[in-house]
């Protein structure tokens, strides 16, 4: 930085005293006052004013030592209340979603049976025929990872030809819930979060008060013996029998929390 004039240096004195000047500017000021007694005196006068103002405003006493604990006790009470409200919300959501999942399941089943109904088989009365009983599809068959990529595999996947249905996040979420119910869980909730690294997952575990063991972490719910189990899987649907996290190219991850009473 080039040498400062007296006027330029004086304009920067307050910022210099406030430690707001960049290092190279601070150095230039120090070099200037080293060779300029008048500016050095002006700087000292300004520093004295800063000190006088600071002194006049007085000292702030230290906060009482118990304040930290008092704040955290209030925060903990607030957090516990929030968790209870969320648990209650999720139970309501699961109940509503279960009803809708059943509705969607029956609808999908009817859709899949349409060829049979319009074909010879339907004419022969195989659909809703002798037994007269429509059964919900097997949960595994209804929504399984291999069935959700548009491939025709599987007896009863989300219909590949119905792109709107296939692309619907809502259908995916309800189907996920249906799958969870089929596996004997009492519900599932999908939480979309972002994570850039496993450290974020560890931090997430810590945020639930849980310890990350290298694969996943368990989140204990304390209300009404309900336990939410969250396990970090190895990849998309790596183990369909267990809850998992999967991600996309942007680093967004989706956590499937299965809830079992």
């Amino acid at each position: 930085m080039k040498k400062l004039s007296c006027g330029t240096a004086a304009d920067l004195f307050d910022e210099y005293i406030d430690k707001e000047t960049p290092p190279e500017t601070s150095k230039a000021i120090e070099e200037h006052i080293a060779g300029c007694p008048a500016c050095r005196a002006e700087l000292e006068r300004r520093a004295a004013l800063h000190g006088a103002v600071s002194g006049a405003l007085g000292d702030i006493p230290s906060p009482p030592p118990e304040l930290h604990g008092r704040i955290m006790a209030a925060v903990h009470a607030e957090a516990s209340s929030r968790k209870r409200r969320m648990a209650s919300f999720y139970r309501s959501l699961a109940a509503a979603a279960a009803a809708l999942a059943l509705f969607v399941g029956i609808g999908a089943f009817a859709f899949l049976m349409r060829p049979m109904m319009t074909g010879d088989a339907a004419q022969e009365g195989n659909m809703g025929g002798e037994g007269g009983e429509v059964q919900a599809p097997d949960a595994d068959a209804f929504y399984h990872p291999e069935n959700n990529d548009g491939a025709a595999g599987g007896a009863a996947g989300v219909p590949a030809e119905d792109e709107a249905l296939e692309d619907s996040d809502a259908v995916g979420e309800y189907a996920e819930l249906f799958y969870a119910y089929g596996k004997g869980y009492d519900g599932a909730h999908i939480i979309a979060v972002r994570a850039d690294s496993s450290d974020d997952i560890k931090a997430l575990a810590a945020s639930f008060g849980a310890a990350f063991d290298g694969r996943g972490f368990v989140v204990p719910y304390t209300e009404e013996n309900e336990t939410a189990i969250l396990v970090w899987g190895d990849g998309p649907y790596a183990d369909a029998d267990k809850p998992y996290i999967y991600g996309d190219a942007d680093g967004a991850i989706c956590i499937i929390v299965y809830v079992k009473k």
Binding site: A52, S62, L67, I71, A203
Partner: protein, 190 residues
């Protein structure tokens, strides 16, 4: 796993938004004195200041889930602490009838210092002169002086807390200091 102490304020606040009480506890450790200073400078009562600080941190905790990573925690906490302190001030029965402007004035009020003999008396007189000069500053200038000199906030933190640009912070400080210097010169010439 990172230690909480090594995380930035923003990282801690994001974790707090996910319900991480330990992360929030670290923020309390870092800023309880700061928040207490802001509240105490308004209330001048240790008990009331502690109440205001607790309220301010609760507000900080509640707002954490909505945090999008764009705010400076210290600046945000300044606003919350001052608001909480003014709420306490309003709730005091003795101040129940004060208007908002009067509360603002009361908040910036500084305790008087009784004169004493000799050098101590002279020093205290100077302090009182400076305090009187600070009181005479326009509120926007006085506020940035208090934030800078009492609460040790950086220009950037002040700018974010007041939602003004750094240039405005500098100009207000500069005008305030020029006025204070002039007041002190006049006082010395008496």
């Amino acid at each position: 796993m990172k230690k909480y102490g090594s995380l930035t304020d923003r990282e801690l606040y994001v974790l707090s938004g996910r319900g991480d009480e330990l992360a929030f506890s670290e923020l309390v450790t870092r800023y309880r004195s700061f928040s207490y200073g802001v509240a105490y400078s308004v209330l001048r009562s240790p008990e009331d200041a502690a109440d205001a600080v607790q309220d301010a941190f609760l507000r900080l905790w509640r707002s954490a889930p909505r945090h999008r990573g764009e705010c400076e925690v210290k600046s945000w906490l300044y606003t919350l602490s001052k608001t909480a302190a003014l709420d306490v001030l309003r709730s005091r029965s003795a101040h129940a009838a004060l208007s908002v402007d009067e509360i603002s004035e009361a908040g910036a009020d500084l305790p008087d210092v009784s004169p004493l003999p000799d050098e101590e008396a002279e020093r205290r007189e100077t302090i009182n002169e400076v305090r009187a000069a600070i009181q005479r500053l326009p509120e926007p200038q006085r506020e940035v002086v208090v934030m800078r000199e009492l609460h040790d906030m950086s220009y950037s933190e002040i700018a974010k807390a007041l939602n003004i640009d750094i240039g405005t912070v500098k100009s207000r400080l500069s005008r305030a200091r020029a006025a204070l210097a002039e007041a002190l010169r006049r006082a010395a010439g008496k």
